[in-house]
Amino acid sequence: MKKRLQDLRRASGRRLRAWNARRHGADSLPLTINRRRIYIVPTRFGLALAALLAAMIVAALNYNSNLALAFAFFMASLALVAMHHCHRNLSGLSVDVNLESDAFAGADTVFHFMLRNESSLERSGLEVSLEGEKPARATASVPPHSDERLALEVPIARRGVQRWDHVQVRTMHPFGWFRAWTYVHTSLTAFAAPRPEGNRPLPSAAGSGHAPLGETHGEEEFAGLRPYAPGVALKHMAWKVLARGGEPAVRVYTDLGALPEWLEWSALEGVEIEARLSQLCRWILTCESRSARPYGLRLPGIEIAPGRGPTHRIRCLRALAQQPGVA
């Protein structure tokens, strides 16, 4: 019985959302929540209160007690006003969020919401939630004329790309008698890179890369200077040149120079897909943190040119996330 009721609720929620999406289309962010897209219903507590109030009013009328009637009507009016307050708590709020986020499987990904309150009212008890296997929710209150950042942490179980087509923003403020909510129809994507695992050595270390490194590992030859570009580790800066008043430059060694490290899918032949991706992920992280060498990634059907830095790293990790798994 309870389960059927829940199913019914979920189905009606879906239908309402679909209708709402048809009506408003995809939303462009930041979205200011207008009155037309706010839904409000009494909570279970509110329904119980309504039943009690009805009983109270009938009893007061029956006892012909103006005193009790005054109390009952006061409570009823309080509930009506609370309904308006609940509705107003969302109306005019503007919501923004980063549409894409990254994570490693098994950890949380975070969507950063920006709740902006232009009115002179405090907006309390706002809850932002994403449906899913594990529904995620986060709460905040926004003081008048200010913004509030809200980090919604979504647990990610598996590698892959996870998408949501809507965000629910809701509130039960002030008394928990009503629940007002709205859907923000925007597509949120979480790129879940594989869990960094595996202890195979880097292809270069294993001697199977494009770079002829083996013998020079550890005793690099100074090969000259090249102009500075952002993203170079500080220890490779030619500080002396800079001190003499020259342009910033980077010392180049034969083994670290322009020869990129290629992280290749094919290098891990025979390993199970997820483990392969995990290993590639570990290599990317290692390359990013240890050396100054650019690295590239070759996956089936995709090749990412060598590079370095956070943007490059994320590009690589997303490529891992988007790899099809076992069909």
């Binding site: 119980a48 009893a59 109390f71 309080l78 002179s120 403020h173």
Partner: protein
């Protein structure tokens, strides 16, 4: 929440068994204590045990769970025990609902303005508790939350007022109310022994209030008629029920007096109209055969009666034989000396009226005293009073007089009721207290009907040993002091006037009042349907006001003029397509605007810098002047949509 529950139950304390109050208090205290210590509520068997035991005791004590007081007791108990096991928000929600119900049931049997205020306070407090509960983490302290709830309540008031004023009332209850007798109520009863009324005479409680419209009857004609006592055992008198049949036709003599009685509840159905009532407003009111105005049900709630009376009446109808027999009956073995005296007087005075007059003269001439502390009387109480003690008050005189008359064969009966009253000059009505309770006689005179004789009035004023006020003054505490200090009396009268206003305007507000209210609003021929229409219109108005109020709150500008000025600047820049992005601070925004429109760069940078300084820097002595300058300059700042010469606009594109 616990405090709210405690306060709600406190409203019932008087009506609840004391052990129950203690138990509930103990369980709330225990829960709060455990919560403060961070420990969980007691285990399930403990709680179930306590619950079962206390419900059993409650049932044994009350013998029922039906009815308002038993229900309330049970609910209080359940609420207290429920509180013992609150874990989740849902449990507290249940407690909140119980609190509301307790508030209502306390109000159902009360008329007190203060109780309403108190319980509205409880509701306010519990709403604030709910507010804190609905937030995941409370933001503010209690004072701010209470203020917020206060604002919501203020917004709710107009709607509540419209509902209360115009919601259709029931003419008759849907179901019969369980009558709650047994609450000892002071007031006249249907038996009287000579010493009885003294208890009432010392009672300060109000029996009723009366407002005369038109002329006021003279003081010695203000007799408020209650039960009539016919049957005596020689000592006490009782009303075994009025004789069968209806009232005689009374022929009014003299002027009519119109008045409105506001009766306090008492245990019987007498309405205490002024002697002798002629017309009245109570639908099921009637005159019984004793000429007393009664209704079918006891006066269990405060009741307003409008009536008209004539202080002089006569009847041509003869007294029936049964009635004559009943009203001349005396026990033969009691009071022999009184019977002998009566027989002796009868021999010299054959005329009934003359005989009555002689007895009154006797009371006046002989050493009869009026006192509220008479000596005790023996078996033949009338004999003892007439010949030995000669001290008493209205009950003694009325029963002695009636005994003497009956012994002489004149039909006589004792009427109890009230006499006199205190005028309240602040609201123009009379207060009749239990201390105004009185007993007098009526004798049957052929051709005139029942004639009122008040033997107590015959006592020589010099022998009124202890008047009412002096008796009260002799009391060591309370009453005496109140009666003596004039300003306290004065204050009490004013408070009483207020209370009366509350009662008339609020407690007795009914459909009739609704109709007249609507008529005053200018709607002709009001009826129930029009009341509903007016309610709908009123609700619409109230909601319009509410929405307007809510919008106004929403739009309120921030207080700091610097913020207002900065917003104005942003608005004007947005109008030319350079809206500030949400993440941009004043400096960054100015830089971007400067890049896009070099012609505006200097002005915008200056304004933004001024804004940042005013808003975030330490206040400097020039703060005020700077602020004024910022406000004036943003007002004057009106950027044009296009830069003055296109060359520069082109230059900004890389």
């Amino acid at each position: 929440m616990g405090a709210c529950l405690g306060l709600a139950i406190a409203a019932h304390v008087a009506a609840l068994p004391p052990w129950l109050t203690a138990l509930v208090a103990a369980s709330i205290a225990m829960r709060l204590f455990l919560a403060a210590r961070g420990r969980a509520a007691p285990g399930r068997p403990v709680k179930l045990g306590i619950a079962a035991a206390s419900i059993a005791i409650l049932f044994l004590q009350l013998r029922t769970f039906n009815g308002l007081s038993a229900g309330t007791a049970l609910l209080s108990l359940v609420a207290g025990l429920k509180f013992l096991e609150t874990h989740t928000r849902r449990d507290l929600y249940a407690v909140a609902l119980i609190i509301y119900f307790l508030c209502l049931s306390a109000l159902l049997r009360s008329d007190s303005f203060w109780l309403l205020l108190y319980l509205l306070g409880v509701a306010w407090l519990s709403a604030a508790a709910l507010l804190r509960l609905a937030l995941w983490t409370p933001l503010h302290g209690w004072p701010l939350d209470l203020r917020y709830v206060g604002r919501i309540s203020a917004q709710a008031l107009p709607v509540a007022a419209v509902l209360w004023l115009f919601f259709p009332r029931f003419d008759a209850p849907l179901w019969q109310l369980p009558s709650e007798r047994g609450n000892a109520q002071t007031g006249l009863s249907d038996t009287m022994s000579p010493g009885d009324i003294v208890d009432l005479a010392l009672s300060d409680e109000i029996a009723f209030r009366v407002r005369f419209t038109g002329p006021l009857p003279p003081a010695d004609e203000r007799y408020w008629r209650g039960p009539v006592l016919h049957d005596t055992d020689g000592h006490s008198w009782r009303n075994v029920g009025p004789p069968a049949g209806s009232a005689r036709t009374l022929i009014a003599e003299g002027p009519a007096y119109n008045y409105t009685l506001s009766l306090e509840p008492h245990a019987f159905n007498w309405l205490f109209a002024l002697d002798w009532p002629d017309k009245w407003s109570v639908p099921d009111g009637r005159l019984n055969a004793d000429d007393t105005l009664v209704q079918s049900e006891p006066v269990s709630r405060p009741l307003d009666v409008s009536a008209q009376s004539h202080t002089h009446v006569a009847t041509q109808e003869p007294l029936s034989a049964t009635a004559r027999r009943r009203d001349t009956q005396l026990p033969s073995n009691r009071n022999p000396r009184a019977i002998a005296l009566s027989a002796e007087l009868r021999r010299s005075h054959p005329d009934d009226l003359e005989l009555a007059q002689t007895v009154l003269e006797l009371f006046h001439r002989e050493e009869f005293f009026y006192t509220l502390s008479p000596p005790p009387l023996g078996e033949n109480s009338v004999d003892d009073f007439l010949f030995d003690t000669r001290r008493g008050f209205c009950g003694h005189y009325a029963s002695a007089f009636a005994t003497l008359m009956r012994a002489a064969g004149i039909p006589a009966r004792i009427v109890t009721g009230y006499h006199g009253g205190t005028y309240n000059p602040y609201a123009g009505y009379w207060i009749v207290r239990q201390s105004n309770a009185h007993a007098w006689d009526e004798i049957w005179i052929a051709g005139r009907g029942w004639v009122r004789v008040d033997p107590t009035a015959a006592i020589a004023p010099a022998r009124v040993e202890a008047g009412l006020d002096s008796t009260l003054a002799a009391e060591p505490l309370g009453l005496g002091i109140r009666a003596r200090v004039p300003w306290i009396t004065d204050l009490r009268l004013r408070l009483d006037a207020l209370g009366q206003l509350w009662r008339q305007r609020f407690l007795n507000f009914n459909q009739v009042a609704q109709l007249s209210l609507i008529e005053r609003l200018g709607i002709a021929e009001p009826d129930a349907q029009k009341i509903v229409l007016v309610m709908a219109a009123g609700l619409m108005l109230a909601f319009a006001w509410l929405v307007w109020q809510l919008r106004r709150e929403e739009r309120a500008e921030p207080r700091d003029p610097a913020v207002v000025a900065y917003r104005r600047l942003c608005r004007r820049l947005a109008a030319i397509g350079l809206a500030r992005r949400p993440h941009e601070g004043a400096e960054g925004y100015a830089a971007r605007v400067g890049q896009a429109r070099p012609d505006l760069a200097a002005a915008v940078a200056a304004l933004c810098a001024s804004y940042s300084r005013l808003r975030y820097a330490q206040p400097s002595p020039e703060h005020g002047a700077d602020l004024d300058a910022l406000v004036a300059r943003t007002r004057a700042f009106r950027p044009r949509r296009r830069a003055p010469d296109s060359g520069q606009a082109g230059a900004s594109e890389p």
